[in-house]
Symmetry: D2
Subunit: 349 residues, 4 copies
């Protein structure tokens, strides 16, 4: 059960039907979970903004860096050109090169890309080295290609899956989480979806309530640290400039969960619009685009904040206690205790 099933509310906007990033039409997610023996707890999550050839039909995109202690691949080209040309892959810190190489494999081998000699793989990561033998670099190119191949629309698994298999969040087991918001007709009917890989610290707040304090587990009482990858998709017709602004709001959503973007944190948001594509080749020197005006972005901003906040808490509700490398063990969030705590405050039912 997800927080919303307990009557917990994050903000005021309605969710999409799945309350998932895949509520944005056409978006597909694929995940490979790698659990082997006592030590390997890692994986891959792939997000594809549309079903076509992503290189030939580039998606408008932007990346916002909340705190840059991370190894995300692909930043500068997205920043310069405003487009994404590969799937987005999330994995662990030391497997970024493997994932990037797999994205090159994938791109070079797509029909129509026979002449492609330049690819900008976008790979995000957090460090699962507490539960996972990260130095062993157990993610293979094949894992990544499988995640991409298996990507599909529909519900998205949360918790100890994919790139979230071995992550830790607020001292509890973290993982993959997702959520969405659907704007009312008066605000454009757009959908904003978020998917997160939670691996960070701070003072946990759930729907505002200081659960971390209640549970006695928070930064500087304990040594909590780490990172968060956030992916935000929308069908609103935003250009790269406004997508970067949208991405920044996801970071505000992280703040609302009590994250502090500590020194050691790699907090990145990749925002992509599915409303249109920029063709790699064109017979015309111009593109004619219908773009949302600045004035109409605020509701999307609020949607990105809410969806990201909820996606993070969703990851905590879904993740299960895990033992991993070196016998390290991380407990899951005590969901019932949290729900009872919120109930007393009138914030759950």
């Amino acid at each position: 059960e997800r927080p919303r099933d307990y009557g917990i509310r994050f903000g005021v906007l309605p969710t999409g039907p799945l309350n998932a990033i895949t509520d944005v039409p056409g978006v597909r997610v694929g995940q490979v979970t790698i659990r082997e023996g006592e030590r390997v707890r890692t994986g891959v999550t792939a997000i594809l903004p549309h079903a076509g050839n992503l290189f030939q039909q580039k998606s408008p995109a932007a990346i916002y860096i909340g705190n840059g202690f991370g190894k995300l691949a692909g930043y500068s080209q997205v920043e310069e050109l405003g487009t994404l040309e590969t799937p987005i892959v999330l994995t662990n810190t030391l497997s970024v090169p493997t994932a990037a190489d797999a994205l090159i494999d994938y791109t070079l081998s797509q029909p129509g890309n026979e002449q492609v000699r330049s690819v900008n793989p976008v790979v995000g990561e957090t460090n699962d080295g507490f539960l996972n033998d990260i130095r062993g670099r157990h993610v293979t190119r094949q894992h990544v290609l499988t995640a991409i191949r298996d990507a599909r629309t529909g519900a998205v698994a949360e918790g100890n899956v994919g790139a979230g298999t071995g992550t830790v969040c607020f001292g509890f087991k973290g993982g993959i989480g997702t959520a969405s918001r659907k704007l009312p007709t008066s605000l454009g009917s757009y959908t904003v979806g978020a998917l997160v890989q939670t691996n960070f610290g701070g003072v946990l707040q759930i729907a505002g309530m200081p659960a971390g304090v209640e549970l006695g587990k928070y930064s500087f009482k304990e040594n909590l640290d780490g990172s968060c990858m956030m992916v935000v998709l929308t069908d609103a017709p935003l250009d790269a400039r406004n997508l970067k602004r949208l991405a920044k709001r996801a970071f505000m959503g992280l703040a609302k969960t009590g994250g502090i973007a500590s020194n050691g944190s790699g907090d990145y948001v990749i925002a992509v619009s599915t409303a249109y594509q920029i063709p790699h080749d064109s017979k015309t020197p111009t593109d004619t685009l219908t773009l949302l005006r600045n004035d109409n972005t605020s509701a999307l901003f609020m949607a990105a904040i809410e969806a990201t906040e909820e996606a993070i808490i969703n990851s905590l509700f879904a993740a299960k206690t895990m033992t991993g490398d070196q016998g390290h063990r991380i407990e899951e969030l005590p969901v019932q205790r949290v729900v009872d705590y919120l109930k007393k405050a009138g914030q759950a039912r």
Copy 2:
């Protein structure tokens, strides 16, 4: 009474003695409130990081832009050189030039500055044009010089004062607010102080509790918009790079109050360290500085988040209902109702 007097808590770190930006030793604040007739509701707030000649003894500083729909003066030079060379002045949007001119007046006239031919005035603003006849530009240079001259250490007035005289926040009367955090000895004993000019919208949360929903007043239910200026001072020895990181955390504090950094928002954070100064002239080509390592910044980050969040809510608790230009009227936050609401949830006493 301030929120903390009702037992409302923002985070986990202790406050400084005054719970104000002036807990950072040497920091002075001066405010001029301009209320004239039915239409003029504006003012000036000045913050001085030290008591010396600010131009000759520059303070390490950085400015973070949360959302840049604003007219802050002085950004690029602070960004390039990493120093502040004037008092920080806050006022209304259309009075930025006047305030900048006054800062030039002030700087040129300081003893020792007879040869100064270049001054980078730093002026922040929000738009008080709903309650104030902003087009009348009623702030004069003299107002600004008075605020600087009258700046002092000690308690800081909050609410409808200075640059917060005519502002509106979450649909209620906003204003000036301040708060601080004092790190425990184990984390370096540093103080972080925040001062805010609140004039923005979103879905108000007080210590996490969704007060805006409870009170039925929030963005897209009503038309709430606007900006927030944040000033963060610390005696921790940070360089400009880490001050910029600190500044970014203040923006996270804003997020925790339910701010959404809407399209029309000018959200800026000016962060300054009082731990050392950079002399304008020097006989040596180098400066020897003792700087906090990256690894030790996280507690300061958390302090900046907490202090900013509390400063914003403080501004709302202090501000009083105001009528102004065109008969516009903004109600104060119904403090008792809010406190009762938080009490029921166990978040106030």
Copy 3:
């Protein structure tokens, strides 16, 4: 006579008919030169991208900061929203607030702007304090309003005029310069125009030839320093992202003249497209725009480099020896000697 009249060539692209920023259709320039007595040597240059209400019909724009030791007003809003809503005004460092105030006056008083309560004045500057009594702040709002009112299409005066009245460049008299490039039909027939206010140092190169060395006047042999404001207009349909890229290329043009962007330099480029406007108000939530594709920007980049380089050298050829404040005297570039030097090298006729 301008360098081109001596057969000096800057790059390979053809100029527009006037070889001026006003070759971009609709662009108007107005200048007020302020020379009074022995000490006052300053002025104002205003550039208007189109003849309509600039606030109601905003121009897509971007600002690139080469070196940020400067006091340019208006940066962050242009960066955030991608639009310009006032004339661009250039003046001296300490008169930026006066100019900004005048731009507010201008905007508030335009028919149709009766309800405007927020204006983002864009003002650039360099420091003419060697020849000009800059501390006296002799520029008035009226000077600025006059420059705007008198702005017109057609040829642009260069040298000791407007904001270039008192500037110094490479140790010689600097000033205002302008140039343009017109792309051939195969590259889109677009025009790129540059206007510069030259006040900087380095090792002067004219069409590549090391004239500064030849003339025995260059940085670190003498104490040369200072800033350069660059304004680039184009009728190519660029969005803000690509305008920022275009702006960066103007800075490359500065580099080609031997400028070094010294520590004390405030080097800013404001780039604006005249191809379309973004209306302040709109009945629709979207704008439909026809925008140049990334792939087709390179020729514009080259045009901006060439035009800026030439505009800088044009300013030096036009400026005349001047005596000013404190009896300071700056010699003009010895044009004939330079031409002879280039002739010998086959770079002039």
Copy 4:
């Protein structure tokens, strides 16, 4: 013979003894050239700022992005923390992941790094896909590790070596180039060294002279495009902020060779100081650093401009005609013709 041997001068500052990046004490360079059969023309160049454990003793560093159409790895962490923790590796576009993986191998295996679980590999690239079978990804981890292992002080091979094996510049054979400047005692005696991987287009200028025009080969006459990686080392005690400013000046050096930073260009500058290190672990919360004041950076800026310009031209003088993949052939710069041309203009002897 290098340009300087022909009496060609770039700027006014003296070179270091080797006129190479290795004039900066302690800097080592290693290169592996990969030429196999008809199709493989690529390689690896590694730059190490000091001889110790680079992860444990991090070097202050910054990365400036001229034009970001590139795949450089490691940007955001360097930007956030201001330090470099691996060797810098240059290679071809599609081999960045391989090189990054090799840097992780290298770092994890260094004595003292047994507990390291996070590594930020810094890898730059340009696209050698015209002469090289880039899709074949012929660079192996072993190539990279060999380049690092073989890195040494002393003279640096230029032209068709290492990461420059298959590159093309201004339509001629490009490659690796290097140069340096040594400031006079009065300016601090610091050394600035540059190393470049040249693979870009524009209108070639050699010591200012329009050689590209003379040789009839330049952008938009022909289809020239591409990228340039620049690495700048200095023993001046700069912090990350000033290193970023220094890096930006290298991009100005590129501009002086006639580069235009076309849309397709990935132009990055990595700047590193060898004057001090930041230890990964420390018993104290602060570091005491002696840092060059802003005021004293300008001569270093000029040195970076000059050294980068000369390094680029050095790469062209050293590179030899090459035939590669698909029978593509790129001619070397006709050095004698160029020298004769410069001689006539008095710019060579």
